[in-house]
């Protein structure tokens, strides 16, 4: 890539480079964080804490996927946990009734949740802000009610037992980590390409983006489908990890956690939500032992960050680095 603005006079081109540089810095930071996570099992062998980290990675995938939709495209869906539930039930039902092996079931889960996301994304195309939030919220509640009331098929709130995939917890740890890193790379490649600019242009001003020739319908729907497919993938992996699928995966509270992680980490930044997922979930397990104030603390943090620090922890960290660099 051509070095800085001294050699490139074109205003709009430097805008492109700026955006790419920002994404690249965030991507590198995320990879460094993942490298640290990869080293944790060398020092921690307690299966409980490994389990906590595995669930953190599940949430990191969901937060990353929701961030792509909300943070980069500006579509505030309140149904990310629902797509995880759909993915989990896809592989769960296939496995339970037809004996489909988990790996095939996970692929099916990605396809099914991606398709459902495509349809929902297409349906809500014209809705913005509160209308979009309400529509996706009712979609989420309807899906949860269906899963918990179709007792003959899903065994309702009791949950559906599904086959496991790996025996060792360390194996699961690196499987989830691998999945997370692969998704991060895919998101990075997407955001660095023209598509990433299209998505952010739609977020910043949909009408202007359309005037500039961006196929708004295509990219909004695609972002919805990709986000849903990634969430469904996480849900399907989780189903085989927990060996149980319940409607609880789609609770509003789960969406609340995903939103909290994204907002605290920094919406519209590649690294923020993923790193925050670890911080929030591990801290919440620790706070649970201390007195169970975890959800109070995180909900308060969401409000405070949304109100005062829109760019979240990532924005705060960047500001601190800049100040330190200047001094």
């Amino acid at each position: 890539m051509a070095p800085s603005s001294a050699t490139s006079p074109a205003g709009n081109r430097s805008g492109v480079q700026l955006s790419n540089t920002k994404t690249t810095v965030e991507f590198r930071a995320a990879l460094v964080a993942m490298a640290i996570v990869a080293l944790i099992p060398l020092g921690v062998s307690n299966p409980y804490w490994l389990g906590v980290l595995i669930v953190s990675m599940y949430f990191a995938i969901l937060a990353g996927a929701w961030n792509l939709l909300a943070g980069y495209t500006g579509q505030f869906s309140l149904a990310p946990a629902t797509f995880a539930m759909i993915g989990a039930y896809t592989t769960g039902l296939l496995n339970h009734y037809f004996g489909v092996p988990p790996l095939l079931g996970i692929v099916a889960a990605v396809v099914v949740s991606g398709l459902v996301g495509l349809l929902l994304g297409r349906a809500v195309l014209r809705l913005v802000g509160p209308y979009l939030a309400l529509t996706t919220l009712s979609f989420a509640e309807i899906m949860r009610l269906v899963a918990s009331n179709s007792i003959d098929i899903t065994r309702g709130d009791l949950g559906l037992g599904v086959a496991g995939l790996l025996d060792s917890r360390i194996g699961w740890y690196y499987l989830f980590l691998g999945a997370l890193v692969v998704l991060l790379i895919l998101f990075y490649m997407l955001l660095r390409s023209k598509a990433g600019l299209f998505l952010q242009a739609i977020r910043d001003d949909e009408v202007a983006a359309r005037r500039a020739g961006v196929n708004v319908v295509f990219w909004k729907t695609t972002a919805f489908a990709i986000s849903a497919a990634a969430s469904g993938f996480a849900g399907a992996l989780y189903a085989h990890f927990a060996e149980l699928v319940t409607p609880e995966l789609g609770l509003i509270g789960q969406t609340g956690l995903i939103v909290s992680m994204t907002v605290i980490g920094g919406m519209g930044t590649l690294a923020g939500p993923v790193v925050a997922a670890f911080l929030v979930y591990v801290l919440s397990e620790w706070l649970r032992d201390v007195g169970g104030y975890q959800l109070v603390v995180f909900a308060a943090l969401v409000v405070i960050f949304a109100r005062f620090f829109r760019e979240g922890l990532w924005g705060l960290a960047r500001a601190a680095v800049q100040r330190w660099g200047r001094a």
Partner: protein
Amino acid sequence: MSGIDVDLAVNGLITGVFYALMAIGLSLIFGILKIVNFAHGEFYMVGAYAYTLIALALGVPVWIALPLAFVVGALLGWLTERTLMRPLYAGYTSWGLMRDEYAVIVTFGLSLFLINFVDKVIGPYAYRGPPLVETSRVVLGPVLISGHRLLAAGIAIAVIAVTAALIKWSFWGQQIRAVSQNRLGASLAGIDTAKASVIVFMLSGGLAAFAGALLSPVINASPDVGIFPAIKSYIIVVLGGMGSVPGAIIASLFLGVIESFGAVYISFQYRDAFGLILLMLFLLFRPQGLFGEKGREV
């Protein structure tokens, strides 16, 4: 119409009256700020707790505890407006054009906070509020109804009537409607839009808390008790047209009756899903609702 149908209709209408108490506030907020308050159900929950705890723990008579619950809800509404909503129109968020998204996140976060705060401070156990009267059953022809529910419905109708009259004829009510119609025009005409917004939030919080207080002997207050009434109010404001108060009242009664019949004649398990499906269909195909003005452009 047989006896049971009359009973279902009357009970559905009464449920609708309580829905209306919730939905009016939500609709007013939408009218004035063009946002959906996702913490609306938590005002209801706080009202139920305020009434129950004031009456039971402090031994205050129920007739004083009831208006106090309204006051608690109004104070919470005031605090919410001042700390979180004012940036929406005073222009000091960092969210720029994404004010809708800011409102979704911040009210959703407030909802999570209030649920979990009450859960930790008061506890996850359900509290049953003291009824206003002890009469257990009143029989009116084919209609069977508890004394408390009948009295509570009467009070709710009175409160709704007063609220509707205030919005229609009072000085502040007219100002609120002016701001809903055209914020810039209203401020040019010398209306204090910030004050109008504070009043709407206090009224909205107070009414929702009042609904929670009235129903607390029936619903058994618990931290997550507000979630379903809130979802019902979203359905109602969408059906009635976002921002329309008469629309909200009519849609509330309509939903109450539909649910009452649907639960008996169609499916009890899926009674909560009907309204949600209706909500989705309306948002997708008729976002201005049954009575709202068509004006929304993307």
